[in-house]
C-alpha cells in the first residue's frame, strides 16, 4: 500500500445480501419446500426456482490451500457462491442440477466426503485441543479424525434411525456444545491443580482465585511470608475454573488426563424436548494418535443404536424408551459410582419412582 489508509473501527461484518446466490435472493423468505436427492444433496424450491445444495465434510481446522481448492470448485460449479453450516460442513449452492455429480467427483478427488444430511452423522463440532489451547486435556482435531475415519459410512449414507450429532470438547469449558449432543466426547483432567507457589503471588489475584471455585475448595494461605492458595483436594472436581483465572494452577497431567463419553443429548424440539447428554463412560485413556479405546467405544454405541432404535428416534429418545438400565446392559458399559451425580441439583437425576425394568 502506497499510503496508509485512515484507521477505521466498529464497522461490523459486511452486509450478507451481497453473498447470496441470485436464486436464493429471489426466493428469500418465500421457499416452498425441500427435497432430499441423495446423501449430502438437497434441493430447495421457491417461486423463483430451485437451488441445489451439495454438502461436504471439513476438518474445520483448514488452511488457505484447502479453502482455495474449495473456492475453485465453487467457481467451477456454483457461480462462486457457497456457505458453511453451523456444524462446519461446507455447502455449495448450485443453480444447475447437472453440476451435482461432477462436483461430487471433484470433492472426492480432493479428499473430502459428501454427506451429513438427514439421518446421518453430520460433521463433528469440536474445539482446539492441543493445536491451540492452554487448558486442553486431549486433542480435538485428532480425536475427530480418528472417530470419523471409523464412522465415515454414517456420514456418506442416511441409514441411521435419525440424525446423530457427535461433538468433541477437550476440557470442561466445552467450547463445543457437547452437553446437548447425541454422543459427546469430552476430555477431562482427573487430578487437582498443582500450585506454583513462586509464581502465584505475582500472577494471580487471591480473592478472585478463591472465588472461582464452585466447590469452595480453595483457601488463601501463607508460604514463607507470601500469600498464595491451597486446594482442599477432597473437594476438587478438576473443573479448571481456577486455572482460567490463575495460570499458576495448571491441571495438565499426562498420566491421568483422558476422555469421557456422554450420550443422549439433543437440541431440536422435534418430538421430545431438548435434553442434556448423560455420562456413559467416565474415563478412557488418552491414546494418541488414534485413540483406539475411544473410537471403539463410540462405534459400538452407534452400532447398538442403529440396530435397536425405532425410525426417527434420537439416541436419547431411544434410551429413554428402553430405560438406562437396559442401555448399560445392552452396551456392556459398566455402571459405576461415578455415574451418580453429586453436583448442583443432583437429586433431580435420582430415580424417584418404581418405573424399573427387571
Amino acid at each position: 500500500m502506497a499510503t496508509e489508509a485512515k484507521r477505521v473501527t466498529d464497522i461490523g461484518p459486511p452486509q450478507y445480501e451481497q453473498f447470496l446466490h441470485p436464486i436464493i435472493k429471489d426466493n428469500y423468505g418465500k421457499w416452498l419446500y425441500h427435497d432430499s436427492i441423495k446423501p449430502g444433496v438437497l434441493s430447495h424450491t421457491g417461486p423463483a426456482g430451485t437451488i441445489f445444495t451439495v454438502r461436504c465434510a471439513s476438518p474445520r481446522l483448514v488452511s488457505v490451500n484447502f479453502l482455495r481448492d474449495i473456492m475453485d470448485l465453487a467457481d467451477k460449479y456454483s457461480d462462486g457462491y457457497f456457505r458453511f453450516t453451523s456444524r462446519n460442513n461446507i455447502e455449495f449452492l448450485l443453480a444447475k442440477e447437472e453440476n451435482i455429480d461432477p462436483l461430487i467427483v471433484d470433492l472426492n478427488a480432493m479428499g473430502t466426503l459428501v454427506g451429513g444430511t438427514n439421518n446421518a452423522i453430520s460433521n463433528v463440532v469440536h474445539t482446539q485441543g492441543w493445536v491451540h489451547c492452554h487448558s486442553a486435556a486431549t486433542d480435538a482435531s485428532g480425536l475427530v479424525k480418528a472417530v470419523m475415519d471409523e464412522l465415515a459410512e454414517y456420514f456418506t449414507s442416511e441409514k441411521l434411525p435419525a440424525k446423530l450429532r457427535v461433538a468433541v470438547a477437550c476440557c470442561l469449558n466445552m467450547c463445543g456444545a457437547v452437553h446437548a449432543s447425541d454422543i459427546a466426547i469430552l476430555g477431562l483432567h482427573r487430578t487437582p491443580p498443582r500450585i506454583d507457589n513462586n509464581a502465584l503471588p505475582n500472577q494471580c489475584e487471591i480473592p478472585t482465585t478463591v472465588a472461582s471455585c464452585p466447590n469452595n475448595a480453595i483457601r488463601p494461605t501463607s508460604i514463607e511470608g507470601k500469600t498464595t492458595v491451597k486446594v482442599d483436594e477432597d473437594k476438587c472436581m478438576y473443573c479448571g475454573n481456577c486455572f482460567t483465572v490463575c495460570p499458576a494452577m495448571p491441571l495438565a497431567d499426562p498420566l491421568n488426563d483422558g476422555v469421557s463419553i456422554w450420550v443422549g443429548g439433543k437440541i431440536s424440539n422435534a418430538r421430545t424436548e431438548p435434553m442434556f447428554t448423560k455420562l456413559a463412560i467416565p474415563y478412557l485413556p488418552n491414546n494418541p494418535p488414534r485413540w483406539p479405546e475411544v473410537t471403539d467405544a463410540v462405534k459400538k454405541i452407534v452400532e447398538l443404536y442403529a440396530a435397536n432404535a425405532r425410525p426417527f428416534e434420537r439416541v436419547g429418545e431411544w434410551i429413554n424408551r428402553i430405560g438406562w438400565e437396559k442401555f448399560f446392559d445392552m452396551s456392556g458399559i459398566e455402571f459405576t459410582k461415578y455415574h451418580l451425580d453429586d453436583f448442583r441439583h443432583a437429586g433431580t437425576t435420582y430415580r424417584r419412582s418404581l418405573h424399573n425394568r427387571y
Binding site: 500472577q203 489475584e205 478472585t208 472461582s212 495460570p247
Partner: protein
C-alpha cells in the same frame, strides 16, 4: 443526570485503575459502579464513552483473566510471565 464531563469520568477512572494496580484488576463494571457512587446517576452512554476515551487515549488497555479487566499498559507476553 449528574453534571460531569466524559473527560472527568475518564480521568477519575484512570486514577482508580492506577491506585488498584498490582492489587486488584478492575473491570468495566467496577469503574462504572464507582463513578455512579461518586456522581450519582450516570447514563450508560456516558460511562461507556468514558471507558472508550480511557482506552483510546492509551492510558489503559484491556486485559483478560477469565474475565476482562482494564489495566495499565504492560510489557507484552503471556499471562505466565
Amino acid at each position: 443526570m449528574a453534571d460531569v464531563s466524559i473527560e472527568q469520568l475518564a480521568d477519575d477512572m484512570f486514577e482508580l485503575v492506577s491506585s488498584a494496580a498490582g492489587q486488584k484488576k478492575l473491570k468495566a463494571g467496577d469503574l462504572t459502579k464507582a463513578m455512579k457512587e461518586k456522581y450519582g446517576d450516570l447514563s450508560r452512554a456516558d460511562t461507556k464513552a468514558a471507558i472508550k476515551q480511557l482506552i483510546d487515549s492509551g492510558r489503559c488497555v484491556y486485559g483478560y483473566f477469565g474475565g476482562s479487566s482494564i489495566e495499565l499498559p504492560r510489557v507484552e507476553g503471556s499471562a505466565n510471565e
